[in-house]
Structure formats: structure tokens, C-alpha cells
């Protein structure tokens, strides 16, 4: 739904991590952070956003 209305798919990630899977947690967080960093700051659904001229 969110990707359908135009939110970048990189920002939406789902994972199933058990409390015992600490390394998987690190991997996923690193991956997600990198993916989101690539698409840059979000401009959609942001309130009171200062738009650059």
C-alpha cells in the first residue's frame, strides 16, 4: 500500500528476527540503514518541511 502510493520501497523493510539472533539483527539494521541512506532524506508525509528553493 505504502509503496503503491509512492513511498520509496527502500524505506519499507520487514524482517523477522528472534531475540537470540543478534548477528542477524546487526546485519539487517546495517542493510536497512545503507538502503535508506542511498535514497536520502524523506520528503513525503513530512510535516512543516522546509522546502529548498
Amino acid at each position: 500500500m505504502l509503496t503503491h502510493i509512492g513511498i520509496e520501497p527502500e524505506r519499507l523493510q520487514f524482517s523477522w528476527i528472534s531475540s537470540a539472533e543478534s548477528t542477524k539483527f546487526i546485519d539487517v539494521v546495517t542493510e536497512v540503514t545503507e538502503a535508506v541512506r542511498k535514497v536520502g532524506p524523506n520528503t513525503k508525509l513530512v510535516k512543516n518541511m522546509v522546502r529548498e528553493p
Partner: protein
């Protein structure tokens, strides 16, 4: 149409006379052209006020919840699926409701007629041969009924009631060549930013009147998330992020339950086609879980159940 009206009045009068039901829910002639408001009839004398037209856009399943005693309701294909939905969700007991199925020829879109005619409309008359005469300010125009149909009725494949106690007419045939998700496919073909722009434009005129929510049979929470103050989930103004949040969440709450009855669009004073949100969810439910809302009360709705074989492509 006249045969439908006669049959509707006959059935309503019989049910009330025999005291099978305490109340009949149907449509009445409105005071404004192209709007048929719902009405409840409790006495045989009032049955003559019941009517049927191509403007019976509202979903009567919405008025079945929290009624007392046995109630009869006139239901189009989509209304009927919403009633099945209510039964599955425990909002309505099957034995408390007499469903009078109305095989549907599709309803007309008020906003289309208004924009085609261009002036204030005083009267809209339908002929049995499929022509529609629109009158206003000393002018008269004729249109084809098929050109004025609501979009959800055009792509509808469930025109006949799925569950009924009696029918007001013969079942209608559904054309085989309907591309039911053509609108969604068009949006899906756009790029990410184009899609965002499409939805931004779509809701730009929204005034947050919540008519779409109020007319929706699936929206029956005692307190809607938009009305809640503690916590306040969403701002109350007309800023785009708030309006968008309302529309996303409203749509999401109908996932796997929406029957594409179009009551939201028909009740919108601004003519916003918010089905662009809900139709996608309907398509996803069909593609992912082969689920269509309101087809049976015996199975649990798609988002209420799970199978080990469910697709998990979005999980990493």
C-alpha cells in the same frame, strides 16, 4: 426500474403486514436530484415512499449494525457482500436479517452527470431503453446510461446478491470481458514519484468531512482513530501529511473487507475517487491469498488468518 419499484413495495408491505420484520431498510426519493437517501420503514402505510433508481449508491449494510429486532434490507450485489462481511465479523446475526436481493444494473455517477451537463440540474429521468434525460435551466440533454455509470460499477463482477432470502428480479448477466483492476494497473505502471504525485493530486481537494468513512459499512469502530484525542494519531487540519495519513489508514482498515461498493466515492462532496487506495488492497488480497471480501461467511477474512504457505516475499 418500475418493475423493481413495484416489487420492492410489494415485498416490504408483505413483510411488515405478516410481522416477519419490524423494519425495512430501503431507499427513498431525495429532495435533491441524483441523491436517493436511505430510509427505514416501520408501517405498511409508509411503504409507498420506498423507491429504486440508478442513484441508490449508498451501501445499506451500513444501517444494519446495532439495530434491534428483525430487519429486512434491500441489497445490491455489493451491499449483500458487505452484509456477509458483517455476519462473518459478528456485527449482524444471519437470523436477524431478511435480505432482499436486488440484481444490479450499476449505479450512475452524480459527479459525471454534473460535469457533463455543466449547469444546475433540476431533474434526471431514466428511460427503460437506456437513455437518461437531464433537465435544468430550460435546457434538456440526453445521455446514454452506460456513459454515466460509476467506475466501480463498470468493473464490478459481483452484480448479483451472494446471499438472499428473496429477489426483486431476475439475476443479471455479468460481461465476461471486464478488466476489473484496470485502474490499479495504470497506477502500478507509474514510477515511484509519479505515483506519489498522483495520490497527492487525488486528495488535494479533500476537506476532511469524513463522509467516506461514515458511509462505509466496514467503518464501525466506536471511536475512529481520527477522532481520538489521547493519543492523537493524526492532526486535524488540512495539511497534506495529515490528509494523506487519514486516507492511507482509512483504506488500510478496509483491507480484505472492502467490497468496492463505491459508497465512499458517491458520498464525497468533492468527487474524490478514493477507491484508488482501496482497489489496490482488493487486488492484493486476490493476488496474494485468492481472497474476495463478502463471498462467504464461513471463512475467516484474509487479514484475520494465516497459512504456513502464505507468500512472504516482502520479509527479509
Amino acid at each position: 426500474m418500475q418493475t423493481y419499484i413495484e416489487k420492492i413495495r410489494e415485498i416490504a408491505a408483505r413483510l411488515l403486514k405478516e410481522e416477519t420484520v419490524e423494519m425495512v431498510i430501503g431507499f427513498q426519493e431525495g429532495t435533491i436530484p441524483m441523491i436517493s437517501p436511505p430510509m427505514s420503514v416501520r408501517t405498511v402505510e409508509d411503504v409507498e415512499q420506498l423507491t429504486w433508481s440508478s442513484h441508490c449508491c449508498i451501501n445499506l449494510a451500513n444501517y444494519l449494525t446495532d439495530t434491534k429486532g428483525k430487519v429486512a434490507v434491500f441489497a445490491k450485489g455489493c451491499d449483500c457482500r458487505s452484509i456477509v462481511n458483517h455476519i462473518a465479523e459478528g456485527k449482524v446475526q444471519r437470523e436477524d436479517v431478511v435480505i432482499i436481493g436486488v440484481p444490479c444494473h450499476g449505479m450512475m455517477e452524480r459527479h459525471t452527470i454534473i460535469s457533463l451537463f455543466g449547469e444546475e440540474i433540476e431533474e434526471v429521468v431514466e428511460e427503460d431503453d437506456g437513455t437518461v434525460t437531464v433537465r435544468g435551466k430550460g435546457r434538456e440533454e440526453k445521455y446514454q446510461r452506460s456513459d454515466l455509470m460509476r467506475q466501480n460499477c463498470r468493473v464490478c463482477v459481483h452484480r448479483n446478491p451472494v446471499l438472499y432470502d428473496e429477489l426483486v428480479g431476475d439475476l443479471v448477466e455479468v460481461p465476461a470481458d471486464i478488466r476489473r483492476h484496470e485502474e490499479v494497473e495504470k497506477i502500478e505502471a507509474l514510477g515511484t514519484d509519479e505515483r506519489w504525485e498522483f495520490f497527492e493530486d487525488l486528495i488535494a481537494t479533500c476537506i476532511r468531512c469524513y463522509a467516506c468513512r461514515d458511509s462505509c459499512p466496514t467503518c464501525y469502530c466506536p471511536t475512529c482513530f481520527v477522532d481520538e484525542a489521547q493519543p492523537q494519531w493524526v492532526g486535524k487540519g488540512d495539511e497534506e501529511p495529515d490528509v494523506m495519513t487519514f486516507h492511507i489508514l482509512r483504506a488500510f482498515h478496509t483491507a480484505g473487507r472492502c467490497t468496492d461498493c463505491g459508497a465512499c466515492v458517491s458520498s464525497c462532496p468533492m468527487g474524490i475517487d478514493m477507491r484508488a487506495f482501496t482497489k489496490k488492497l482488493e487486488k492484493d488480497c486476490l493476488d496474494l491469498w485468492d481472497w474476495e471480501a463478502g463471498q462467504t461467511a464461513d471463512e475467516r477474512p484474509a487479514l484475520e488468518t494465516f497459512q504456513p504457505s502464505d507468500p512472504e516475499d516482502n520479509f527479509k
